[in-house]
Symmetry: C2
Subunit: 325 residues, 2 copies
């Protein structure tokens, strides 16, 4: 079919072993042989077959990227960074979108194993957290969410601290009835809720409640409507992701609530509109690109040296205060 190392060997007048050695750049090769092989490769336009290499090596130059929601800008930013790092190291990226479905996650993890990927980047669904058995899995790096018991490389942001900082801007602003809208089921959401709640120490009466739903726009809109209905006195809202925030903000705009006009709306991530709505929205920006890069770097190192000590990288979110009069 396509060109193989045999064709190159024939053309260069040597054995396939020599060709392979030249290509790999190891072992003893005479200048003459090297030159002939290189010439033959160029003339024929030979490109090695990665599948054969993978079979032989029992490991491919592919990494798996398991995302919970690729439509979430936070994750697409991460994907971009991951792919860039991988490409730079000669790896390709096998991408999967689980939509937070633990079953899909498991299926995909199995697929990855069948593909003999060199490593996996995963933002784990909470439900699967305990099933991650590092002894059977290829090198694995967790990002965005960590798994409590597991001894695995992880890159996260300090969600608790970030939520605390964010919520405090609201408390400083003298709001009296504050509600929180958070994602459901995830480690991340739990940490943010914790930070959110701890901000109210000594001011518990200003905390209206924590509302949770899967992190989609429609859910944010729904929860916001629910809050407005149940708690007419609400005067401020914290949203734990761009998607939830976008939905919630839409509801607020449509209901002409005073929350928005009075700046009682803040959120995680930095949705594109946060800077130009009136008044602009204060946010915690997550270092998505940095997270993707760090996770991919970590994975490369782990692949290179599976015995290296496990590390946990904690990135800080950046508070962006907007619209202070």
């Amino acid at each position: 079919m396509s060109l193989s190392i045999k064709d190159v060997a024939l053309r260069a007048g040597c054995s396939i072993a020599t060709v392979s050695r030249v290509l790999a750049g190891k072992g003893y090769i005479s200048d003459e042989a090297r030159q002939k092989v290189e010439e033959a490769v160029k003339e024929l336009g030979y490109r090695p077959n990665r599948v054969a290499r993978s079979l032989r090596a029992q490991k491919s130059r592919v990494i798996g990227l398991v995302l919970s929601d690729i439509r979430n800008p936070f994750f697409s930013e991460i994907s971009r960074a991951v792919e860039a790092v991988a490409f730079r190291h000669g790896y390709t990226v096998l991408m999967c979108n689980t939509d937070e479905d633990p079953k899909r996650e498991v299926q995909f993890l199995k697929l990855m194993e069948e593909e003999k990927v060199a490593g996996i980047l995963l933002s784990p669904t909470r439900a699967n957290a305990k099933t991650l058995d590092p002894s059977v899995l290829p090198p694995l790096v967790l990002f965005d969410r960590k798994v409590a018991g597991a001894n695995l490389d992880t890159v996260v942001i300090d969600n608790e601290e970030a939520a605390l900082k964010l919520t405090r801007t609201l408390l400083a602003g003298n709001y009296q009835k504050i509600a929180g809208i958070f994602g459901a089921k995830s480690f991340t959401a739990s940490a943010r809720i914790k930070g959110f709640q701890s901000a109210f120490e000594g001011a518990e009466n200003r905390l209206l409640g924590v509302y949770q739903a899967p992190a989609f726009e429609e859910e944010g809109a729904r929860l916001m409507a629910e809050i407005l209905k149940k708690e007419p006195g609400v005067d401020a809202v914290v949203c734990s992701s761009a998607l939830l925030a976008t939905g919630a903000y839409r509801t607020l705009r449509q209901s002409a609530s005073r929350i928005v006009a009075e700046r009682g709306f803040i959120c995680f991530d930095d949705p594109s509109w946060a800077s130009f709505v009136d008044p602009p929205v204060t946010v915690i920006r997550q270092p998505a690109a940095a997270m993707g890069e760090a996770a991919a770097d970590l994975l490369m190192k782990r692949i290179e040296d599976p015995a290296r000590p496990v590390s946990e990288i904690v990135l800080q979110g950046e508070l962006i205060v907007r619209g202070v009069r």
Copy 2:
């Protein structure tokens, strides 16, 4: 290392050929053999090695997805649909982000070939359009952008018609000085520009000019600023993508231009904020999920039957009129 078909054969007390046949479900197999093999597979937890399969078949169950910008919500939506279809058919998705860089595109296409992917989904950079040689490449389906001369399966939206429709809402609104902000270098941008311009037939004096730049937020912001400076009389703007529109809209908001207040702002895609800014923004929504699905479906069919006639699917954008008093 890991389990192979040999282990299963040993356990089931038959040859590896029989195991393979049971797994593939073809050829003659006795009920007894089938049962024994299935049992052995289950007991051992055997999973076939996709790499070995790929090598033997000279083709993997992987498809390549080449994106020009994964951060663009339009493309992440497409990615999601593609991955879902692929998964359903037992394929995995190798993802690459080119950032519109033709060099990266070429490099990646080569990588894909080395990985022996079964097929490729591509939104081609204009610069590479001519180099797509279907005779050497695996099955290929183009999406979002088509290539003029090439005889390739394609899924696009009717950009010219969409731009025409969109621009007409502006003309009907009696705006007199209309500028257009479009992406650079792409087939898509050209088609949209064509539609945009043709809307002005008989009203050429109302067309202020066409501005082009790579489709990023900052570029949209920059172009908008440039337009405001050069053409103080501008009273309406058409933006050809969500990213450009977001940047442009930000600039407008910050400059307190009257364009926004008077609804003279419309765009392609349906950015999340379009529905809740005041006044809301009329848009053409691109059927991103449908496009991804159609393209992936088409690729599956093409892989199955490489001889089937080439088809071009044209999807229609949906005009969403908002904020009509």
